[in-house]
């Protein structure tokens, strides 16, 4: 179950974020991820292992929310966008061109983190990327 290692790596990435920006430990409520369907990550398994891995750590009590991003590709023969059929067909249905350009579906991204900073405990700060 490689989601255990994925989670370990996510925690290291969050640890880096904490150390870069915070002299104090932020109180994280929610970590929002974007996970593409054309990755090796099973979202449900990641949520499960995250819940177990954060127990007793500075992220204890935080929640992992995953937005799934579908696989979309562009046919380079005619320029139209299409949804490949996972494990069945990846070439374009229009021209049978191989899956050359992927538009979305490879995301493994920390999109935003909802947290409160100990410096301003009254505020709940939400950081959203564009």
């Amino acid at each position: 179950m490689h989601e255990v290692d994925m989670t370990r790596c996510l925690l290291l990435s969050l640890e880096e974020w904490k150390q870069e920006h915070h002299p104090h430990v932020p109180c994280v409520q929610t970590v929002h991820l974007q996970v593409g369907t054309f990755t090796c990550v099973e979202p449900a398994a990641l949520v499960f292992t995250y819940g177990a891995a954060v127990q007793g750590s500075w992220l204890d009590g935080s929640e992992l929310r995953i937005e799934t991003v579908p696989l979309r590709a562009r046919c380079l023969a005619c320029g139209s966008d299409y949804s490949p059929e996972p494990a069945v067909a990846y070439q374009s249905p229009c021209c049978h061109h191989p899956m050359e350009e992927i538009l979305s579906g490879r995301e493994l991204r920390i999109r935003s983190i909802d947290y409160t900073s100990p410096a301003v405990p009254a505020d709940r700060v939400s950081i959203l990327s564009a």
């Binding site: 990435s13 070439q91 410096a119 700060v125 950081i127």
Partner: protein, 235 residues
């Protein structure tokens, strides 16, 4: 206290691994060597391929191997027998190598030799078609193997691995008379997910097709070396 927007924008879930991988690659570039990450399911023939290829190319290239294995050092012993420096990396529970493990392997390798004397560093990953595709170790190129006995549907079932590969080797082609598989279908499925990969049909057992793969590899190593900036000379 507000964090600037770009702080989290696009930060990869695997950013921590990526930073370590970039660090490894910076070392490879300083040493002017090409690093290949070799991946496949268990038993597709990674070690056999390396035995044959290293034997064939050792007159022309200085090589070493970082050998990932879950529990044993059997593969490392096989490769050491062909006369190449090998550092075994036992991953234990983990089903892939990550950049930190490879970094540890590099430290051990440096105790054996000066990596700047190498042309090519092989990283033989743990046998697995799933997660090694997502964990970069600092390699310049990914090589994926698929043996003909695994069936022609594997590029469709494990598409991320074959999409990420720069080179795909269809192995054990000497067994084609004995297995109900159409090698051109394997190749077509690889091309459907990754039209840019170099694809070779090889048999490490009989040597069939190995010459073409070796010529491509030699050209790739030389091209890579030529693209590296000249060494900084200390005043």
């Amino acid at each position: 206290m507000h964090m600037p927007l770009e702080d989290t924008l696009g930060r990869n879930l695997l950013a921590a691994n990526q930073h370590r991988a970039d660090h490894n690659r910076a070392h490879f570039d300083a040493w002017k060597l090409l690093c290949l990450n070799v991946m496949s399911s268990p038993g597709a023939g990674k070690t056999s391929l390396l035995e044959r290829t290293i034997t064939a190319l050792s007159p022309e290239l200085a090589m070493a191997v970082l050998e990932g294995d879950m529990t044993t050092e059997l593969d490392a012993e096989r490769l050491a027998a062909v006369g190449v420096p090998v550092v075994p990396i036992t991953t234990g529970r983990a089903c892939h190598l990550d950049a930190a493990m490879v970094s540890g392997g590099l430290t051990l390798l440096q105790q054996q030799l000066d990596p700047a004397a190498l042309d090519l560093l092989w990283v033989e990953n743990v046998g697995n078609l799933v997660c090694p595709a997502e964990f970069e170790v600092g390699e310049h190129l990914k090589v994926a193997l698929l043996s003909v006995t695994e069936g022609d549907d594997k590029p469709l079932k494990y598409p991320v691995m074959f999409r990420e590969a720069d080179c795909v080797l269809i192995t054990k082609i000497d067994l084609l008379p004995y297995v109900p598989v159409d090698v051109s279908r394997i190749e077509a499925h690889v091309r459907a997910v990754n039209p840019r990969a170099e694809v070779f049909r090889v048999s490490a057992g009989t040597g069939q097709g190995m010459g073409e793969w070796h010529r491509w590899l030699l050209a790739t190593v030389r091209e890579h070396a030529a693209c590296q900036p000249p060494a900084l000379v200390n005043a």
